[in-house]
Symmetry: C2
Subunit: 205 residues, 2 copies
Amino acid sequence: MSGRKQQAARNDAVILDAAREVFLADPKAPIAAVAERAGVGISALYRRYSGKEELLRRLCHDGLLLFTAQAQAALAEPDPWRGLTGFLRAVVDADVHSLTVHLAGTFTPTPEMGATARQAGELAARLVQRALDDGSLRPDAVLADVTLLLESCAAVRVPDPARTRELRARHLALLLDGLAADRDRTDLPGPPPTPAELNWRWRTP
Amino acid sequence: MSGRKQQAARNDAVILDAAREVFLADPKAPIAAVAERAGVGISALYRRYSGKEELLRRLCHDGLLLFTAQAQAALAEPDPWRGLTGFLRAVVDADVHSLTVHLAGTFTPTPEMGATARQAGELAARLVQRALDDGSLRPDAVLADVTLLLESCAAVRVPDPARTRELRARHLALLLDGLAADRDRTDLPGPPPTPAELNWRWRTP
DNA sequence: TTAGCAGTGGAACGGATCGTTCCGCTCTGC
DNA sequence: GCAGAGCGGAACGATCCGTTCCACTGCTAA
């Protein structure tokens, strides 16, 4: 069962997963870190991609495609507010924003990516417009506010990736729900962040 | 009036301002960029600071002191909610977060900075607790949620610093006010962000 | 069975970046 | 008028990182 081909095919996936993990943690990590995380040599990387740029482009484009897929799915949801919030939760949870915006600028985008990005923007605009028309989204909000929201959720970051997802979900709930305590609220999901979790930057090495 | 001493004293301020601007824009900018922005040579920098670390420490400590000063002022405000929100607006506007957290990790903190940081945390905790006791802050919120809020506001960023401040104020208002449109709202401040302002990362060089 | 090659590991190279040092110049303050 | 504080900026050395290259392995096809 394990021919040379099988091993190579498995490496395809291993390398892509490793690259996603490494570059999500640090968008300008060295390529050697990806190889190390994947448990392969550098040659295995360069056999598949012509260079770092092509690998980053691949990751970014995958992120854009995930974004559009989630947006399509959200438009199928009948309730506009549930569609929008569910979409945002999914996109934040998958850290699509880091995959796309944070990686942009580290490579020159292809025309195809530009097209996908434009399509993604249109889908998101429709999601927002639906919620505006419906009256479930405050009337002075704008598509760009949602983009800013994604940016701000991506900024929530602790060393542990799983915990990061929890904290982002909590932050997103705050954003969607508001801080002032003068109406009924849904409970904030997950345990609240502890001070220690946020002070990790201050550790003395 | 302009002796050599005067010129040197003026350079003290010019260099510090330039350093703040440059490192706020990019926390790991080269030191030469600071000198260039200040319009001085590199020697003028090294005459005042033993190295990059000492300069960064200075900026960070200044940020911490600004933070505690604003917190003190906010505690003097009788209304807990107004005190908390005013404090957050001031801290976000001055980009204190970038000055402290984002610069941390690029140098080894001094014990004195640790003490100031601890004091800052205590003051912030009192601000939050006051608003909790008052009932104006939702009961399931926590000090760390506010820290996350600062982190997320600092992530809102466009090339123009002035516009960045406006957009952050808008985002902060959203955070404090909530997105769902089912109660009375204060108007969002400033003009809404345009798509072009958020697409600047995609520019092809 | 065996020759050939796809696939691989990892050392080595070359370029870029950046903190720091150092030398020569200017111009003030005594 | 001169000693030296203050300064500009070139040069240096260390580090980092993308990429190339070569030797090796063990399938695979004839």
